[in-house]
């Protein structure tokens, strides 16, 4: 693992990387590497077809009582990293909530296999270093399609690397649990692919341009999670059907109701 002295340079690396292609605010899609990204998208789709999708059909046939244990175990191991990020963002409440959640689920929840914290109203305050960078004012950067991991941005990719480096899990759980983490992570990916099977299928295999759809979905959903105002798109070149001169049937152009 990384020594503490190695973390600070990584943070600077991350900030530099994330800052390397800042787009003006309000730009919906900043994708200068589209050609390379599309090749990675094709690779990922091939991977889905050959491995992920077939595997997810197997897990989907298993009882939830079993697969839930894998998902909850994986989620629990991700909590310490979220506590660190909560603190780095100055979100004390989120960090405390995730701490209680981790303690409760690791003890009463039998090492994180069960999620009693959720029933107590302590839901996961999902966060990561990509969000920390956003809170610190680092721009989003270009859209990147990562092999295996899927859609990301320059800022979020930098965040992934830093999250790996600053994860305090090694100080908190036995080596056996740490060794299980990669398997739990992959297991959760497969199980999630199964649970949202028809939605993912319709995106990847039924859309006219799956790459463009995935890019749009990821960027919008990520900005929503980071607290970028949703309805701002109506004022910043996003979807305003009633303002678009080519899209206004109630203007003086064509009235679709006139024939009824």
């Amino acid at each position: 693992m990384y020594k503490r002295s190695q973390i600070l340079p990584l943070v600077f690396l991350a900030a530099t990387l994330a800052g390397c292609s800042a787009a003006p605010d309000g730009t919906l899609i900043n994708d200068p590497h589209e050609g390379a990204n599309r090749r990675v998208h094709d690779f990922n789709t091939g991977l889905d077809k050959a491995l992920l999708r077939p595997a997810s059909e197997v897990t989907e046939a298993l009882p939830d009582a079993l697969t839930d244990r894998v998902v909850e175990f994986a989620d629990n191991l991700a909590l310490p990293g979220m506590v660190v990020n909560g603190l780095l963002q100055g979100d004390l409440e989120g960090a405390i909530s995730n701490t209680f959640r981790f303690v409760l689920n690791t003890t009463i929840g039998l090492g994180g296999l069960f999620d009693p914290a959720d029933e107590a109203g302590l839901h996961e305050r999902t966060t990561d270093f990509g969000q920390t960078l956003a809170v610190w004012g680092v721009p989003e950067g270009a859209y990147i399609m990562l092999p295996f991991l899927g859609p990301s941005t320059e800022r979020d990719t930098a965040g992934l690397l830093v999250d790996f480096a600053i994860d305090p899990l090694q100080f908190l759980v036995p080596v056996e649990a740490q060794e299980l983490q990669p398997y739990a992570f992959v297991g959760k990916k497969v199980i999630s692919r199964g649970r949202f099977g028809s939605t993912v299928d319709s995106l990847l295999y039924e859309s006219a341009d799956p790459y463009a759809q995935a890019r749009l979905l990821y960027l919008q959903n990520r900005r929503f999670d980071l607290g970028v105002s949703v309805d701002s798109s109506y004022m910043e070149g996003g979807a305003d059907p009633y303002a678009d001169p080519y899209a206004d049937p109630y203007g003086d152009f064509v009235d679709p109701y006139e024939d009824f």
Partner: protein, 196 residues
Amino acid sequence: MTPAIRRRSFLLLTGAACLPGAAWALSGSAARSLVDLLVADINAVIASGKSEAEMIKDFEGIFDRYADVPIMARYALGADARSASAAQMKAFTEAFRTYISAKYGRRFREFIGGRIDVQGESAIPRGVQVETMANLRGQAPFRVDFHVSDASGKALFFNIIIEGIDMLLSERTEIGAMLDQRRGDLDRLIADLRAL
């Protein structure tokens, strides 16, 4: 926000406010009643115990009743709507109606066993945003917003935003890609949409 964008938003806002009978006329409570009815209908179908195929059919009908399909169709077509003839626009709108209600009717399948709760409403530049929470089986609750306008003459929703994902933007991307695949041939697109 760059100054240019801020200026544009300002013009857009003041422009909309000056138009008599613009979407601003829609009250928050009217928009909320529409979504209350819509959600009650969705929840009723979920609880009906019908077969999945029958439920999807019912969801299609709900979508059709509560959505402002002509404006959604025109938005999805984007700039290409300008060069379309009135007859093409009419045919496209009807084909889009079938396509969109079948597509999202199927998507509502995920709501089976769950429920949607209306949380509140707020003003947006082109109408009212009604915020709801979807509580689906085995998933953390998530935000679904309906954007409602009465520019068509009655209150109807014209956009759904699921956790920040804008349905109209997705459909404009999708219809645009379909049109590109057909080398911009709108008549072929209309025929293919009908067949979907």
